[in-house]
Symmetry: C2
Subunit: 673 residues, 2 copies
């Protein structure tokens, strides 16, 4: 059916959808930058979705029980911006659309969570949206189980492109979703046969429907430009007939209606140009100037935007009437239970009394054993390393289709999918996710971990086996550069605690955070309790004096983190025995130390003494503490790694790589001259 026939067949739909298309191409043209083709291709599908199915109220973007809508193909950002404007989200004025991709506008190149209401998650890095949506759908199931369908019951809709489906993370996501039978998750695939380099057939021959079926999905298809056919497919998808997640392959034409560029990669990522836009307007029969939406069409869209109001008010009334409404309100606010502080404090006191010698991964488990029963909002998991990450506590139960009240997720061997799902769980609201893997596999999860930081989501990464201290598994499993990577990443708290007390403190900070993800770098090997106080959360200061020099003025300051603090303490003993006053500074979080007032930093690291840092990793993040903060090159040394590790028992490795108390003593003495 050609465009003229489409217009005639359903003029009401045509007007709604074309308003999206026109805004998209006009905004991209004005910005001289952006992606018109995808919004033009998916406008018909999005129109039917928003008109008939999506549960939302434009006047209350953060209504908890709304359907979630994720634009996984984030480059098509003008699709969502147009929808937000048309349906009446207050923030999304026409001026914002006009200022697409300009400094200060909320209409960023790719949709950014927190930047604009109505954007549920930041997308752009392909595949992240679909994988994050899996987390949202998990959270919906969990919250429904915990609070009942009256308070939580909605769908999660995703628009994904070929790029999303080619990225490996999509396989992790769809396999997890299929296994978990997330029947309220619906993916609308923009099946347009085009990628940036040309036709999909240049690089892919995958039968996507068969692939999704193989992972336990139901699959449907529709003509993505026929509103009746779209309506049929979406109604079928939304029926949730058999509990499986649903893929709807929407056959579309990228840049639909652009005479020269449609159905080519030329419509993907650059403005159409004035001439082509004029031709599109003619083809569409759209006789309105740039950014002009006729009043009748706008009114129809605004009515769609208000469609969910009654349902929202009914929900609010149910919440008001619910006996557990206060706890529900707390849960969706993200504020942790006030039981957190006392629980951590009690554990620290116990630790101080019993001084256990345990791996910090075990210490983390000890924290979770007391915290999880007090914080019903936690939802844990591991990428198939439960017994190694020590992430599962006795009370949790396993979250699966038979037990949606379970609070432990077997994510499978899917680090990237896990990280993205955790983002989605937090974004959904009501739950606080943490998940574990080996720290080296930060590499696999990086794409989603960066989005945790960029979006400001306080998810917790439990990264065990954090150095050569893991021993025999060898260099493929031994992080050396990962602490530097994490510390270089903005808005990320990297903790490397040295004992149970610091581990408990790190967890307290992580679980109290509202806008920053935390990474806990935890040892495989046992470590003694080194802290001698339990009151104040000293980890919150980032670095602090763990052992003071025997005389008031230290001649040497040893800095260390995690498993190397024990080495620093031993080196101090040896130096003190030689009459050299030596201070040990534990540095559980460089980020938090950087945030301290200069007076405190100067107190911990006074000018003058020799400084030696000890960490079984590369030196890069240490230079500012060794050479800056009043440090001097001639008086600074580093005991750590300069290359990759090796396979051998941990003690042999520490000796072979020279990360020992003796080496620290020698370095300090050399620097003292």
């Amino acid at each position: 059916m050609d465009i003229a026939a489409r217009r005639k067949a359903d003029p009401a739909h045509w007007g709604l959808a074309t308003a999206i298309r026109a805004l998209a191409m006009d905004a991209v043209e004005a910005a001289n930058s952006g992606h018109p083709g995808m919004p033009m291709g998916m406008a018909d599908v999005a129109t039917v979705l928003f008109r008939d199915h999506l549960k939302f109220d434009a006047a209350a973007p953060n209504w908890f029980n709304r359907d979630r809508f994720v634009l996984s193909a984030g480059h098509g950002s003008m699709l969502i911006y147009a929808l937000l404007h048309l349906t009446g989200y207050e923030q999304m004025s026409l001026d914002q659309i006009r200022n697409f991709r300009q400094w200060g506008a909320i209409t960023a190149g790719h949709p950014e969570y927190g930047h604009v209401e109505g954007v549920e998650t930041t997308t752009g890095p392909l595949g992240q949206g679909i994988a994050t949506a899996v987390g949202m759908a998990i959270a919906e199931e969990a919250m429904r189980a915990q609070f009942g369908a009256d308070l939580c019951s909605h769908k999660t809709w995703v628009i994904a492109g070929d790029g999303c489906l080619m990225e490996g993370i999509s396989q992790e996501a769809i396999a997890l979703a299929g296994h978990q039978k997330l029947g309220n998750l619906i993916v609308l695939w923009d099946d347009n046969d085009i990628t940036i380099d040309g036709r999909v057939s240049l690089s892919d021959s995958t039968d996507q429907a068969k692939r999704f079926q193989a992972s336990g999905w139901r699959t449907l298809a529709c003509d993505g430009h026929d509103p009746a056919d779209i309506a049929r497919a979406l109604a079928d998808a939304a029926s949730g007939a058999d509990g499986r997640p649903v893929l709807v392959a929407c056959k579309t034409v990228i840049g639909y209606g652009a005479p020269k560029k449609q159905d080519t990669s030329g419509a993907h990522g650059s403005p159409l140009g004035a001439e082509e836009i004029a031709a599109v307007r003619a083809a569409y029969g759209w006789e309105h100037g740039p950014f002009v939406v006729p009043e009748d069409i706008l009114a129809e869209w605004r009515a769609i935007g208000a469609r969910g109001r009654a349902e929202r008010e009914a929900w609010a009334a149910r919440v008001d009437a619910a006996p557990n409404r206060d706890e529900f309100a707390r849960r969706i606010s993200g504020v942790p239970s006030d039981r957190l502080g006392p629980t951590i404090a009690a554990l620290k006191e116990q630790a101080l009394a019993s001084k256990p010698k345990v791996a910090t991964r075990k210490a983390s488990e000890m924290v979770l054993e007391v915290v999880n029963p007090e914080l019903p909002e936690t939802i844990g998991g591991s990428a198939d390393l439960t017994g190694s990450n020590n992430t599962r506590t006795k009370d949790l139960g396993v979250f699966d289709p038979q037990n949606r009240k379970g609070r432990y997720i077997n994510y499978g061997i899917r680090e990237h999918g896990m990280a993205a799902a955790m983002n989605g769980i937090w974004l959904h609201g009501g739950l606080r996710p943490y998940g574990g893997t080996f720290m080296c596999f930060t590499d696999y999860a990086r794409g989603a971990m960066r989005l945790s930081a960029l979006m400001g989501l306080p998810v917790v990464y439990v990264m065990t086996h954090d150095s050569i201290g893991l021993g025999e598994d060898g260099p493929t499993h031994q992080p050396v550069e990962h602490l530097a990577m994490l510390r270089a990443t903005p808005n990320t708290l990297t903790f490397r605690p040295c004992d149970l007390i610091e581990t408990a403190e790190a967890w307290e900070i992580a679980l109290s955070s509202e806008t920053t993800p935390s990474v806990l770098a935890l040892s495989r090997q046992n470590l003694p309790t080194l802290r001698e106080t339990a009151g104040e959360n000293l980890t919150a200061k980032g670095a602090y004096v763990l052992r003071e020099a025997s005389k008031k003025a230290p001649e040497v300051i040893l800095m260390a983190t995690g498993s190397e603090v024990e080495i620093a303490v031993a080196a101090r003993e040896a130096l003190e025995a030689k009459g050299i006053p030596t201070r040990v500074v534990s540095v559980p979080s460089m980020e938090l130390f950087r945030d301290q007032p200069e007076s405190y930093r100067r107190q911990v690291l006074p000018k003058g003494p020799v400084r030696v840092a000890i960490e079984a990793a590369v030196r890069q993040p240490w230079d500012w503490l060794l050479l800056g903060e009043g440090g001097k090159e001639k008086k600074a040394g580093f005991i750590g790694m300069t290359g990759f590790g090796a396979s051998a028992p941990a003690p042999a490795l520490y000796k072979a790589f020279g990360i020992t108390a003796e080496a620290a003593v020698d370095e300090a003495r050399r620097l003292l001259g």
Copy 2:
């Protein structure tokens, strides 16, 4: 069929396979560390593969035309170590097996390329093996097309576990392999239903055969403990009947024969224990002590190890007789064409004469346009950003099933799969791969990029759009921490050239490297030619004086990389105009500067002057150049990023984030006091 019946049914096979099993469980027991279950489960399959199919000669591990064997499930390292020992690889003595996972042994916890002959690639991070094997199979097709089947014609065999297939990278790999119709690639899936956390059904329900079929694979299945059934399936797979890659699902029992632990995750990752081992020996009817292989069985295995000798000699004779044998020898040696140097030199001279103002991504294309015709070993590609990465040159042609002589690979939207495939292409030999994506998506490729570094493979990553300078696409696409990440990674050369001449020099170094991967961080935006000499490769020094102060002794040294060198040069003009002698140091590679003698480093960065570094990224890697190397905290400043970027035109962003010549001038003057 129970074990006793298996033994009786085919005692010859039983003896061969059980020698593997016994060595594996004994070595893990001696190390008190390791993974016995997988070798015990896959010993039957591996025995049939090595006995009947794998083309190799244990006396010549690096024979170019051998079949490649990749143990993607790298934790089962004792499987390959046992096979190497039994078939007679000289390095793999019984002592090495006895010293499994010990310091100094070649029998590392996971198989490491370069550490031991016969290990084709480092595995352990799951999914990497299968994805790397795709690269090997691509290289085989390409070399066969370029040199003929007489010189290159072999298969690539992979053993992969459930973990490999759950990782997202596996989807990128199998989709690429299916699309490319890599009919000589055969994956043997250890279908044992067990992962570390328990049964696969805890976390996955994927129909793997259907999934592989959806990506264009042929699938077979066999009883992985029935030698006749395995032989049938492997013969079918090896027939290469229809040009599709082949998956063989081998139904196995993890820890086969261990009465208490078989078919449980208890057999996966820890020693069986003395009692269980005794019970296994009884069940196997294996009356030999630890590490003892009866002479008749060893002799059979050694005969298998020598089976390929005649074929290897015939191949060597064909090579000797080939008219292009010298070029073939050069190609498989990895030494670049001696045309590289003169070609780069000529381009630099032209650049010096014409001083083009081009983006360094375009500069990179200009380099490739002259280099690719001279270096037939290059094989380029992009993860669907060809026009943005500027990676495809006119002469290359597209590598696909219809044109195996093509030298450009459309990798699809698969950054991780591309990086792993590049590793495999280099490991195979004969080709020098490069591939492009946006620098921010380093995040997606990290897992394989780390293996490039760990294995020492000189692949080239063309990472364009390297800062906020990409503009409107916004923070999801703007790297800020990635330079720090790359510089923190051992054995990785990170180049950020400032103009065409530096770009050409970086490419010259990258294409000459034999043991180090290179990352080229390239701008989207145009940059002027700043270099005033073209002779010596100054990039090879890592940092050098680009503009000298007007007086002999500079009072200010401005350091910068890439697109910020232009800003440094402008700041120098302004400072000089104010009578402040200012030097500009370009720092295209921190790693190479670190390797220079101290005298040179001191010459470039003398003590005394104020130092200001300018880079549109985080400061972390700069501290050593600002505060070390004779620098002083009170005289050092940094102009760069402290958080994520934003969406706006690039000039607006540089201004908003204060990365300007004015800011550099102000900082220098502030530091001068």
